[in-house]
Symmetry: D2
Subunit: 339 residues, 4 copies
Amino acid sequence: MTVGVGVIGTGMIGQDHIRRITQVLSGGAVVAVADVDAARAGQVAAGLPAATVHPTGQDLVADGAVDAVLVASWGPAHEEHVLAAIVAGKPVFCEKPLAPTGEACLRIIEAEMASGRRLVQVGFMRRYDSGYLALKAALDNGEIGAPLMMHCAHRNPSVPPYGFTTELMISDSAVHEIDLVRWMFGEDIVGTNILKPRRSSKGGADLHDPLIVLLEMAGGVLVDVEVFVNATYGYDIRGEIVGERGTVALADAGGAVLKQDGARTGRVPADWRERFIRAYDVELQDWLKAVAAGTSTGPSSWDGYAATAAVESCLEALRTGSRTAVSLGERPDFYAKEQ
Amino acid sequence: MTVGVGVIGTGMIGQDHIRRITQVLSGGAVVAVADVDAARAGQVAAGLPAATVHPTGQDLVADGAVDAVLVASWGPAHEEHVLAAIVAGKPVFCEKPLAPTGEACLRIIEAEMASGRRLVQVGFMRRYDSGYLALKAALDNGEIGAPLMMHCAHRNPSVPPYGFTTELMISDSAVHEIDLVRWMFGEDIVGTNILKPRRSSKGGADLHDPLIVLLEMAGGVLVDVEVFVNATYGYDIRGEIVGERGTVALADAGGAVLKQDGARTGRVPADWRERFIRAYDVELQDWLKAVAAGTSTGPSSWDGYAATAAVESCLEALRTGSRTAVSLGERPDFYAKEQ
Amino acid sequence: MTVGVGVIGTGMIGQDHIRRITQVLSGGAVVAVADVDAARAGQVAAGLPAATVHPTGQDLVADGAVDAVLVASWGPAHEEHVLAAIVAGKPVFCEKPLAPTGEACLRIIEAEMASGRRLVQVGFMRRYDSGYLALKAALDNGEIGAPLMMHCAHRNPSVPPYGFTTELMISDSAVHEIDLVRWMFGEDIVGTNILKPRRSSKGGADLHDPLIVLLEMAGGVLVDVEVFVNATYGYDIRGEIVGERGTVALADAGGAVLKQDGARTGRVPADWRERFIRAYDVELQDWLKAVAAGTSTGPSSWDGYAATAAVESCLEALRTGSRTAVSLGERPDFYAKEQ
Amino acid sequence: MTVGVGVIGTGMIGQDHIRRITQVLSGGAVVAVADVDAARAGQVAAGLPAATVHPTGQDLVADGAVDAVLVASWGPAHEEHVLAAIVAGKPVFCEKPLAPTGEACLRIIEAEMASGRRLVQVGFMRRYDSGYLALKAALDNGEIGAPLMMHCAHRNPSVPPYGFTTELMISDSAVHEIDLVRWMFGEDIVGTNILKPRRSSKGGADLHDPLIVLLEMAGGVLVDVEVFVNATYGYDIRGEIVGERGTVALADAGGAVLKQDGARTGRVPADWRERFIRAYDVELQDWLKAVAAGTSTGPSSWDGYAATAAVESCLEALRTGSRTAVSLGERPDFYAKEQ
């Protein structure tokens, strides 16, 4: 079975998913696209074998050829597009964030529960990265004993000098680690705080770069995340879990080692594409298989809500300068871990 | 366009390529299978959406739904299946070796040239490995200057105690490095020799394991390949090119680093699947794209012939205990590098 | 010239320094010892070519054969022994801490200034470690640009189940990083705080292990130090400085890489001796040379005072649970950096 | 006890040992020097507390203040100086080679045996390198099973354009690996051969650089040594032993890892000093201790003879282009391993 996918939002990330479905993965075909910029949607469709252009996301969802919906519109529009897919009873893959506020996420959860079926997967692709999977396997196999801490670094070479705010360092960057640690440790974040190291002069005037984001897990594990979006030297993602009997950490990339001019040199990835392109491929292939099989295996609406709630807590900590609690309410059985 | 692929040979490697085309890659579908074991072919076809079972490879080639042929039969049968595809004017991907003797390879070359079109790709998947590609990029960019030597190691954890002979260490194992270095340095192998280190007691009584295979490139680069098929500890493939101004080597695998019990530990791949599965995926995806585009980009019949000729030279060196020349004759323009 | 050294305190660390001076280093000889346990002092002296046993540290200082004094008595006795050496005008090497309280350190500083000459070196040996020296060289050469953060980990395999308190994790363990960062960044610590991750069950009931110690440098650099004294897997000291244009980190130890049973394995040091024995050798050799040359090059009384003051601040932060300022007063010109 | 050392030969290596004894090590003092260049000997002595200048090595040996002799004269003079020390019954440390010909070495052996006491240590310092010691420990502990092969690389950044011949690549460079493998595997070299890769254009016109030196151990272990004396990028010494159940290899140097400009970079040593200075220190400290204790623990005259004999075999293989046997004759009990 080939899954007919309708893509709402044909910007950079939308186009990348279209390329993925069309040229890399098995079992899917892009049959419809929609974008607020109709011309762009038309251009994208022109490069595909057979894709209908729809004026709105709602129209796309209603298209009979669309078996499943991929939402890559901008964040504030996610809610309406995801809700439309839920109402139509169609599986929907929504790029992160599920929605920019906890309230919006809860409305999606309510609608999905009302539909009686898990339809939503949120695009947290790190769960599909082979490095993090190796960490999780070591942790789950008891190789390091009970976890106590995790040290993370999230370093981008640079961000645009205008428009990228300190808040985005949390909602756009640290959000990946926020979802990651919930999945890694199988428990929720109960408190957050922000530390401010010396500010790099490489960022814009209003950007407090880097930050250290502290995340307290329900069981006491303390996670520190260095978020540094103008690190200049490359895209460097690091993580080390410290347990009672050992530690496990992301290894440096493989590839080649060059010896030259007195140095032994390996490559640091240039950007998130180089570092995570495989994780995106695996993520979307898994989603296509789950859709074809009528199951749901990836990050759920509840995970999307929990991430947004933790982001809101971090933003509050950033404003107030003090530790802020995260309170999610109880997770409905509908979102129990095993599905 | 979806390429209809007919697969001749449904043993381990054939089934793996079928899985790849069906579940992993984009743009192909297995529409026909054939195997000397008709029952096995039937079982394999039963697991596919729509694949015809043919009694012989020739019948499969003749099937109108078959756009391109994948030959995964046993080595001695490759010649007849590849020739059948050439005669039918259909692109054919042939697992290594192209054929077990230089003469057989030359017959394929003759037929392909007579057909007027490059139709054959040989399954040397290392050319698609990201590690080797990084080495080649460093070399081609002049980062290490003119190449002088290459040190390789080809270590398997183990081979079956019976049936795996010293000769297979060359024709089955070292053949990968043989093709690799021709591609890496863009020149032919002109001489070979075999050194015999102390024999491991882990192999069968008739197996002289390990060997060191020496390959002399036309331009003087000397390649040494340790072939060790009962290395026990894992599947470990290594390569370092030494140039006038530096060296470049395959890095150890990434993944995770575990610290435990006084040690810092990374994983060695368990087998060739773990090490090279991505290279196989990229190789076959490239082939499907080339078939769809009507081009030919991978290792050619000439490459298959050159590899078999170098294997024959190594086997002669093994018998005689002395350096043996390799003489290919001149490469026809038909097989000029750029295609 | 051979420097005649009198050693006060012949416990573990004192004996180790005696072995070092006698069997490893050049230019020194242990000519006198003293210890509160006279029998132990006698035994130690018996193993030396010609060392007088003195009943008290003061007697030892007065011995005409003693050119310089090494204080390895327990912390609370340091003040009286160092003061005795200063009064006698003899150079003195004092194991850390210089004294357990800031007030005691200030009394030593006052006496040393009154003597008109820099006589005191404090035993912060990390400044002599080749790894940290490589970090400092990279930093001082501008290779990573302006420093913004430093991430450290200080992991011991274990501490005795009784007697080792949470406070000692700061005054005995983190004190090394406290001195280190002052030296590394050439500026003082102005604030501290303590974070409490989940507690390991491997430590004693009263030990909150691990901790994260936060140190704010005068220029804004934020240092986080994981102190984990029951890490079980080995003695692992890590440090990474993050700058505006890059990072520099302690490398893993060299030695040998073993490949065995599916793993690639390097050794983690078993204890501080294995990790830092060379730094201790270099430290004391430098001190002997400085004494012979009549100069003073190592960590000063002021450095000892600054470290103790930062430790006191951390202990206050541990008690109160909040950020605590460090205030040293102005550094006298007598202790200007260049000497 | 302080060992009074007389140093014959005050060139570069002689001066370095003098510095070592005087400023770095414990238990020795340079009390006499001699050199064919009397002026140089005088200058060197002037920088020492109390060293007599002797007109000849023989005079120096006769000096009553000389307890032990260090021979750092040029190779052809080693024999006469070592013999003089033996006749005088004084322990002697002789830089490699013991003597340039097997015959000369045998004369030393004869004299030493006639003296009734082991007096000679040859300066093969790699046996004292922590990296090789870690390899030997792994091997001797059975961690990799029975050894089958060893792969070595001996890379110098450069050699002088004139005067450094292809023969010196063996007698000056590979000689280190020659002694090393005899010690590592506890058995003799029984055959040698030389392979000639493509020649680097960086060396002088007469220099065939690099070479691959093959060494066959008595038990069948095959050692390949890449000798590359104009490797340009640094001083890089590598070694990997391959055994039946695993491998063990020299790790890259520790120090610091720099991340900058898209790369992760570690340092390659600049020269042999940086790489092996500690091994030289440990070697000579051990010798001083052995002299003081009246024992002999390091590489013996027999080891010096065996190395020279293997060098002669390699030079013959270089001339003839074919495998050459090494025949040492039987080792006298006088040189039994355990002393």
